[in-house]
Amino acid sequence: MSARLTLRNAVVAGLLVFLVLLPVYVSHGGNPFLLTLFTRILILAVAATSLNLIMGYGGMVSFGHAVFIGAGGYAVGILAEEGVASGFVQWPVAVAVSALIALVIGALSLRTRGVYFIMITLGFAQVLYYVTVGLDRYGGDDGLTIYTRSEFFRALNLSNKTTFYYVCLALLFAVIALVWRLVNSRFGLVIRGSRSNDRRMQAIGFPTFRYRLVCFVIAGAICGLAGALLANHTEFVSPAMMHWTRSGDLIVMVVLGGLGSLFGPLIGAVTLLVFEESLPLLIKSLGTPIFGAGAARAAEYWQIVLGPLLLLIVLYARGGIDGLLKGGRRG
């Protein structure tokens, strides 16, 4: 985190200014859909940042991270269904439940390494996915509609889209700051050291399992908060929130933005979701003059472009977008 003016720092600063000013633009006649889209982006960026903490810094590739989004979301949804609308109860419960689930999953999964870790986290995610499918009282497979957003003070009305946007933005900044502090602390050194050479860290005398577990729990708790936000944003929770492809999306965001880079997950979330929204339009508007009506049809199949693009990024742009901005060296 040097404060020098480099291309990368300029891009990150520009992105942050854009995020802060977006609601102002929207209130002055901008497309209101932008606010909804970027609220979603901010929330997913919180989740991706938490995944980056374990995956980028800790080397723990969790393929079940969406579980914590689901856990946080369902905590809010179930409490709302049972008549507890206060955010002062809902959000801490969402975080606590996610942390507890992370503790159990982490304690069992962190005994394994590599591919086995990827698969066991996926397995636990599937278990919890089916738990929510079986929650007959709370909608089961169809999901659960939330009729009132979490209630805080009178001044903090989350039903106001601009207010909610700024709440998400503030929480994202807080989470990024927290991750920065964690990673650069003694705790973070142990986590990063254990990523590079776990055996050596143990030989030095660190009980790395405990450190990694705490790291996993923190990431789960943060992601649970993202789940609570997402539930408020969509006013709906369903098992689909924790489907394994959602976990895949989170991994994509982190790697796309830059693994182990502080602002990488935010960049990744912005890029992926803006790309998802704009690519169909782009194909349509660029293609129609050349290919006519065929382009409009092709626009529906934009994922056909996204898939190979992911492949290319993996093959040729290690370090993600952040790595490209930093310039040159592959890592």
Binding site: G123, T245, Q303, G307, I313
Partner: protein, 305 residues
């Protein structure tokens, strides 16, 4: 009792189908050290090819053979174009790149075949049932699946363990550089292995097609099951994959048919029938977690790696 036998046969059939999928996955995993999430896409493509060829030729068997060949070619093309560049990379890269391939294949299928699913009708001679025991009729087609899968399993085992090419495959798994230094075209060998895995996935897909509909995303849930199978069986072990696949197939099928009754003993009938499907889906993942906790390398770890 007859119901139990029927459910065991159903479980065996599901397990063997899972084995076909898992065998390709575990070969690629064990030999190239490649995590291939797009394996389920090859399963889907096999089913689509079969449905298309069946509509064109009117013959189920001919369609199956053509679809197998086509899936083999698609698999080899995918290996040459994409997978080859991923060997030796981090597993995270594999997950991400093949996740991209899933998106690609799903959209490609939507583009070529449209969003609606397809049906692969069974020919009359398979669409009958056989009396196995007095009072137990069992569909011919399911028996055919069991027999074909068993034959393929034996063939695969003999190929890998008893033939020269199998020897080269195993040698390539333990030391790639050494095998290639001895003059074996390891690149071609890997392409063949990947194609073989794809063909096995395609076979599973096309055999499952008449039972379920052929649709986009059909490979994704069963892919996760196949991963569970190879994790439980031990990565790279074909024997482990076979045993784990049959175990998973039996647990899943028997769980689905008997859990509602078991749960009804301890809770209200309505509640029991509501949560039973979810609980039986969870069983296999719980089993995987248990196996990994007790034996982190799976039940039949491949030694010497």
């Amino acid at each position: 009792m007859l119901l139990l036998i029927e459910q065991i046969l159903n479980g065996l059939q599901l397990g063997l189908l899972l084995f076909l999928l898992a065998a390709g996955l575990t070969l690629v995993f064990g030999i190239m050290d490649l995590v291939n999430l797009a394996h389920g896409s090859l399963y889907m493509i096999g089913a689509y090819f079969a449905a298309t060829f069946a509509a064109l030729t009117g013959s189920f068997v001919l369609a199956a053979i053509l679809a197998l060949g086509a899936t083999l070619l698609v698999g080899m093309a995918v290996e040459v174009i994409a997978m080859r560049r991923l060997y030796g990379r981090d597993h995270l890269d594999h997950v991400l790149a093949t996740f991209g391939l899933i998106l690609f294949f799903n959209e490609l299928v939507r583009l070529l075949w449209g969003p609606a699913g397809m049906n692969l009708p069974l020919p009359g001679w398979l669409n009958t049932s056989v009396q196995l025991l007095p009072g137990l009729q069992y569909p011919t087609y399911r028996i055919a699946i069991i027999l074909v899968s068993l034959a393929v399993a034996v063939l695969l085992y003999v190929t890998v363990m008893r033939t020269r090419i199998g020897m080269l495959i195993r040698a390539g798994a333990s030391n790639r550089e050494m095998v290639s230094a001895l003059g074996v075209n390891i690149k071609l060998l890997y392409t063949l292995v990947f194609g073989l895995g794809a063909a096995l996935a395609g076979l599973a897909g096309l055999m499952q097609a008449p039972i379920l509909t052929v649709q986009i995303g059909m490979g994704e849930n069963i892919l996760i099951l196949a991963f569970v199978v190879i994790i439980i069986g031990g990565i790279g072990s074909i024997r482990g994959a076979l045993i784990a696949a049959i175990l998973i197939g039996l647990i899943d099928t028997i769980g689905r048919s008997y859990l509602p009754d078991l749960l009804r003993l301890v809770m209200s009938p309505r509640g029991a029938s509501a949560i039973a499907p979810a609980v039986s889906s969870m069983l296999i993942y719980a089993l995987m977690a248990l196996v990994l906790i007790v034996r982190p390398q799976g039940l039949f770890p491949v030694s010497g790696k």
